[in-house]
């Protein structure tokens, strides 16, 4: 049965992935910023699935504590098979444009913190010569748009980071999975008006669990975002820059 570390475990998508693993007997180590939310999620998994769940509080921007957290998770279950990195914030683009601090904070949480954490995880998985590193990025990282490029840049940066990591760890037998969700109906997007493209966290969570067990490299969830984003990437820049997106 897989041993799974989930970072950002109180996000709606991560909770659904955790449920899919717990329902199949996986042992889970959860981390998140808020101790009360973390224990609410852990208790739910224990009661629903009689799952073995441990948890520890971590703020991903506290880079100095990454080593300690990954070490605890490894010791807790005697190794790890899956690490899912699911933390992240959706910054307000307009506020980022008006504030350097806001822009840096968003990049710090969504890119720098994640890259730091992945460096620690990669070293551990390279040593054990197995495992799957799964990271939730976003379709927003496929092309920069005026309406959310600070978020998109962090996710796009992660995309390149993960490509390189995948290339490096392939020889060690470690899978690196990038998950690109489209719009998901979660508390993170509660303020966004909803259209037909929104998917439920449940659907996205199951798709992520499936992608991890099938050792995929890059998945779009739901699947239709792959052709959609291909089309968007193909628009020439001299046309794209004129669009209101």
């Amino acid at each position: 049965m897989p041993r799974v570390l989930i970072v950002g475990a109180t996000s709606a998508i991560a909770i659904e992935v955790a449920k899919a693993f717990a329902a199949r007997g996986a042992r889970l180590f959860l981390s998140g910023r808020d101790p009360l939310k973390l224990s609410a999620v852990a208790d739910d998994l224990r009661v629903r699935y009689a799952a073995q769940v441990e948890s520890a509080v971590l703020d991903v921007s506290d880079v100095a504590r990454h080593e300690d957290l990954v070490g605890r998770a490894l010791r807790c279950w005697g190794g790890l098979d899956v690490v899912l990195v699911a933390h992240g914030i959706l910054p307000d683009q307009a506020r980022c444009e008006a504030s350097v601090a806001e822009t840096l904070r968003a990049l710090e949480i969504n890119f720098i913190g994640t890259a730091a954490l992945l460096t620690v995880v990669a070293a551990a998985f390279e040593r054990q010569r197995s495992g799957c590193i799964a990271v939730i990025t976003s379709v927003a990282g496929d092309r920069g748009r005026g309406s959310n490029y600070v978020y998109g840049a962090a996710k796009g940066g992660l995309h390149v980071f993960l490509q390189g990591l995948r290339n490096r760890l392939h020889a060690a037998g470690v899978t690196v999975l990038e998950i690109k969700p489209g719009f998901v109906d979660t508390p993170m997007t509660a303020h966004v008006p909803k259209g037909g493209l929104f998917a439920s966290p449940h659907r996205v969570g199951r798709a992520i669990h499936r992608a991890i067990t099938r050792r995929r490299d890059v998945v779009y969830v739901p699947w239709f975002w792959r052709p959609l984003m291909l089309g968007i990437r193909l628009v020439p820049e001299r046309v794209f820059k004129r669009l209101k997106l």
Binding site: L36, A40, D43, D44, V47, D185, K194
Partner: protein, 439 residues
């Protein structure tokens, strides 16, 4: 949240909210004082009328609040958040030998809704209402105060919140006591009856059966009551056959709304005749899975839409019983005279167990729930006449099913409403509450 509808089950009551605020964490709920307008909790919209609506106000969507907190499978005490569905609870506890103490006719209701309507089931004569099995809950008031309520602690607010239609504040979580069962099956009998006297003879089975209820053919039969099928059952060991289909979620529905009513008199008349005659033997005994026994309509996701754009009205009343069964006869006679189409009706004798809530609907007597296709004024006129019959008999009409009773009728049916009103949170309200109190 995306794709969610904030309508009630009957589709007749209008009342879009001005805003919907999701409640995601019990440790970090929205600051209620800062929200605009009046507030009302909302989950799966299984109330038929406007008691779950807050036209022009704010709905607090509690469906994200759906975590289990603790379950002791030695004592059967379960603690979970208010948005957990009864379906999820059953899925968890039935394999471990426990069952909800009371279940309604659908499993797609939230725990918070079950408390707020003090729901009843086919075992009312044994178990009383749902609220009788609630040991405690936490209530968030708009002042930001969190109040832990139980029969011993903050008892007045506990009694106001059970059956309190969501008006006393937001239930964050609750603890309930489950019932032990020998297995997931139901050993059941289905017995045909031709009229009222036969029905009441069959009700003697309440002594030996945990669950009893009768389906009435609203369109046929010899006397005012109509013919029907009496169902009774007890929990039993053994798996029973698997339920035929499993609806995937409370939001599952027909792929398209029919533009007209599929439920019409000739079709339903034929259906009822087949259903009634289809049972060739006067009595059938068999062991079935619990789901089709308790939740037959859950197999048809969104069945309410079969009534078409006009919608459906359910009328559920309770009237005291007497030697001649006069009150229930009067109600049925009034329906017969109106020639309004009542396709489906369900009949049940309530037990003597007192309901814990100030505004609880169940009380000793006979309860009758009737589905009508909504046909405007003439349907409403009939229901007003029924209110008069029920009021004269000293009965009541169920707010969870209602979209039209007058304020005067409400106050007559629920004489303790004034002491209840004292517990209503100053910022909470509903379309129903404004309608019946004129406030």
């Amino acid at each position: 949240m995306a794709g969610r509808e904030y309508r009630s089950w009957g589709h007749t009551a209008a009342g879009a909210p001005a805003a919907v605020v999701p409640v995601v964490w019990r440790s970090d709920p929205p600051a209620l004082a800062g929200l605009s307008g009046t507030l009302l909790p909302f989950a799966y919209g299984r109330s038929y009328g406007d008691s779950c609506l807050n036209a022009g106000g704010t709905l607090l969507d509690v469906t994200p609040l759906n975590r289990f907190m603790a379950f002791d499978d030695h004592t059967g005490v379960l603690q979970c958040e208010a948005g957990v569905t009864l379906a999820e609870i059953l899925e968890l506890v039935v394999p471990r030998g426990w069952f909800l103490p009371v279940v309604p006719g659908t499993k797609w209701v939230s725990l918070g809704g079950a408390i707020a309507n003090d729901i009843h089931g086919k075992n009312h004569h044994r178990a009383g209402t749902f609220g009788a099995h609630v040991t405690r809950f936490e209530l968030l008031r708009s002042s930001g105060e969190r109040v832990c309520c139980s029969p011993a602690e903050n008892a007045p607010l506990f009694r106001a919140t059970i059956g309190g239609l969501g008006l006393t504040g937001l239930i964050l979580w609750a603890e309930i006591r489950l019932a032990r069962i020998p297995g997931p099956a139901i050993a059941m009998d289905r017995i045909r009856f031709g009229g009222l006297d036969e029905f009441f003879q069959l009700c003697a089975s309440d002594r030996d059966f945990e669950y009893t209820v009768a389906w009435l053919d609203g369109l046929g039969g010899r006397d005012a009551l109509g013919r029907g099928i009496f169902m009774r059952g007890n929990h039993a060991a053994g798996a029973g056959p698997r339920p035929p289909t499993k609806a995937a979620s409370p939001d599952a529905r027909l792929p398209l709304d029919p533009p007209f009513a599929l439920v019409r008199r000739p079709a339903m008349s034929a259906f009822n005749a087949v259903y009634y005659r289809g049972q060739l033997k006067p009595r059938i005994s068999r062991t079935v899975a619990y789901e089709p026994f308790f939740f037959p309509l859950d197999a048809i996701p969104g069945w309410n839409r079969l009534y078409g754009p006009g919608g459906l009205v359910q009328y559920q009343c309770v009237v005291p019983d007497d030697v001649g069964h006069r009150p229930i006869r009067d109600v049925r006679a009034e329906v017969r005279r109106s020639r309004e189409a009542c396709y489906l009706a369900v009949l049940k004798v309530f037990g003597a167990a007192p309901s814990p809530g100030l505004l609880s609907f169940p009380r000793p007597g006979v309860t009758l729930a009737m589905d009508f296709a909504y046909r405007g004024e003439r349907t409403l006129r009939l229901l007003d006449r029924l209110d008069a019959v029920v009021a004269a008999a000293g009965g009541a009409v169920y707010p969870a099913k209602d979209a039209r009773m007058s304020g005067a009728s409400f106050r007559r049916f629920f004489p303790r409403w004034e002491s209840f009103a004292g517990h209503v949170d100053p910022k909470f309200s509903s379309s129903f509450w404004r309608r019946v109190t004129g406030g």
